[in-house]
Symmetry: C2
Subunit: 461 residues, 2 copies
Amino acid sequence: MKNNFEAARQPGKNLYEQVCEKIRDEIISGQYEAGDRIPSKRSLAESLQCSLNTVQTAYAQLVDEGYLRVREKSGFFVADLEGILTGGLQSTAVVLPEEKVSPYLYDFSYQGIDETSFPLTLWRRLSREAMSGVFLSSSDANGSYELRSSIAKYLRLSRGVQCSPSQVLISSGSEYLLQLLIQLLDSDTIYAIENPGYEKLSQLFRSNRVTYRPIDVDGQGVILKQLISSDADVVCITPSHQFPTGSIMPVGRRLQLLSWAQQSDRRYIIEDDYDSEFRYAGKPIPSLQGLDQSGRVIYLGSFSKSLFPSLRVSYLVLPEHLCHRYDELLSFYMCPVPLQIQKTLARFLSGGHFDRHLNRMRKIYKGKREVLVTFLRESFPESTIEGAPAGGHLVIRMKSGKSEDELVQAAEKAGVKVYGLSLFYSRQTKVQEGPSILLGYASLSIGQIEEGVALLRRAWK
Amino acid sequence: MKNNFEAARQPGKNLYEQVCEKIRDEIISGQYEAGDRIPSKRSLAESLQCSLNTVQTAYAQLVDEGYLRVREKSGFFVADLEGILTGGLQSTAVVLPEEKVSPYLYDFSYQGIDETSFPLTLWRRLSREAMSGVFLSSSDANGSYELRSSIAKYLRLSRGVQCSPSQVLISSGSEYLLQLLIQLLDSDTIYAIENPGYEKLSQLFRSNRVTYRPIDVDGQGVILKQLISSDADVVCITPSHQFPTGSIMPVGRRLQLLSWAQQSDRRYIIEDDYDSEFRYAGKPIPSLQGLDQSGRVIYLGSFSKSLFPSLRVSYLVLPEHLCHRYDELLSFYMCPVPLQIQKTLARFLSGGHFDRHLNRMRKIYKGKREVLVTFLRESFPESTIEGAPAGGHLVIRMKSGKSEDELVQAAEKAGVKVYGLSLFYSRQTKVQEGPSILLGYASLSIGQIEEGVALLRRAWK
């Protein structure tokens, strides 16, 4: 046993779990028979050169799971295999979750949300109500009509998107929707992505084996001249709040982009409106899709930031002609969102709760942003804060003489996780100016933001 | 208004909904101002050439939604637009679900489940319990450890699959997992699919722009000689219960397939174990993966048949070396299953409920199959019933002198939906013998099965 076990020793795993697994496997594979005595704890500990305690924990676990039986003063015996194989799942096995303890005191992550402000009780109630109806059979392949209709209404009223429910396609996460788009559009389509931009886009296009070109971003979004001189057909942009720089694309650039897209039937703009719900100054800026008169904009939205990330619901609004193409080519894909979730979400939207939630979160995030900006200005007066007052992150351009790497590492040493802007570049560019740090504030409390910045101030001295 | 409206008239839609949509759009786009009077019901009905009733229903709906206001005896007026744009979602809009009335009296579908036997109360309770914990943040990209561990345990004990939780990858639906596999394996991989086989596979490979070869199936599964002489690297099979023919692959063929796969590092067997939980005679047949000693089998499972289709949870068990490759190349994809669902399902598994549910459903489906077989034998004594006593469908080879098309059409005329086996062929083959009809029985009650076969008996006379 010793050699096998040592050979299989897995570095990332708890030793006692490995002992459990080993014995379980031996029992299942028939190396023991029911009633067989297994090695004493002491002898196994010796042969594995581990502590007696480890073996003791493992044996206790296996007794709990029903693999072993213990006989007072005579040791451990293999339980009846038949019983395990048919009823094993009925044992009250303790499943050990993987430990995920953040090594940081404060993580200025750009991905989280303010979990403490989510209306959990309401969500639970709507979820219960959703399950009082029919939800076992698969619904519409594009998403339930109820949900598509609620989303279309929200988008029309709040984002100025021109759409009917039949143009809405519901799926799990933006990556899944982009995969569908890649299959929907011509196979030789060349994509353009923002540089810097959402880091998963380049991974996605690479793993889907399609060609993509990074296009540099200035303070107004993608640089049109670069886009025009590239061979790209489809450009993915975040005009409401460029990720990560935070700029808002002005209407002039929007119209130029639309006119670029109108020049060929192969051209499309994918408008990723990922955090457009959160804008803290002035009026909401309507979507680019709302300006489009010729069906060249594909609108992409998500509830990951406006509700919560583990919900995994995103949606596309397709131009009419692509809807027909989708129905023809791709309608065999079933909507991957469980109907139970679709129904809960539809209730959240149609009951007016989404609107109220957004109004509330806008105030909360606005407050957090203001605190962060104030502390940063006090702590680093020579630096510039970039990005519009929107979303859940900002970018600070540092003038401390330290490089971006040095800043990130000094912060990490002080227990604070921040994100260097260079993470989001697919290629280096001339537009990039000096060391810039991205700070997300949605998931931290105001107190944590204050303490985090205080630590940064010391670390970046 | 008339011309626009008539041009946009959508065939699949209720007329009054179209009227609503039209007026809504005109209000939102600013063609009316708040307080404007809109055309009288009678004049609109005349101009649209529809009934007064239709317009009446549409106007009432728009009043409910807050777009219109009614003034006693003076008609309908446009409501305050400002109020709608900011608070429109709070109106108690009636969302109209799409009508989906089956045109058939009895549908011998191969996709449904017995919904009446699902433990709904239990599922609701577990779902509530799952939401009492933390479920807002995204969990592990491959699926929560808790769920992967429960699935691994179930597969080890009930399907003889060799796996640890780290080999399990959770996603939404088999099509999504196959898309990931296509990205994981080399781009020039050639796939082989069963002919006849699951009809979505050829659509999936086509839309993912990869090459695939249909391989004919005999009574034991894919014909090895054909596979060997093809240039395919990866073969997708359903050895536990071939879809649609229903045969079980004997161990001899399994070993031959494994030895084929071992001959190259590019070769894999994708074992789709879609309804393996349901076998009604003899012992369960362990998975092909369990026989594999060299990491060439990728195991694919789903809860669509064993629990319910709208759950949208499927999983892969990857060989160790592909796990490493996955982590390297594709771990940027977030698990698309909402954590709320993952937690509910993990509880269903670890609490022993899945085992009990399967035991119960096995008896129910076995009973249905026996009734169907008995009635078919009585009604069509010269015909042969094919497929092992397993799963949720069977195939009957008819000897009535009628062609497959004639049989399907005669059944439809009698209000019974059945499925000709030729639907599942990607190409015609010599192995195909005579008109064969696929009949699913999972979603019908015993009474419905009896009545359905009685109608078929008359229709196929």
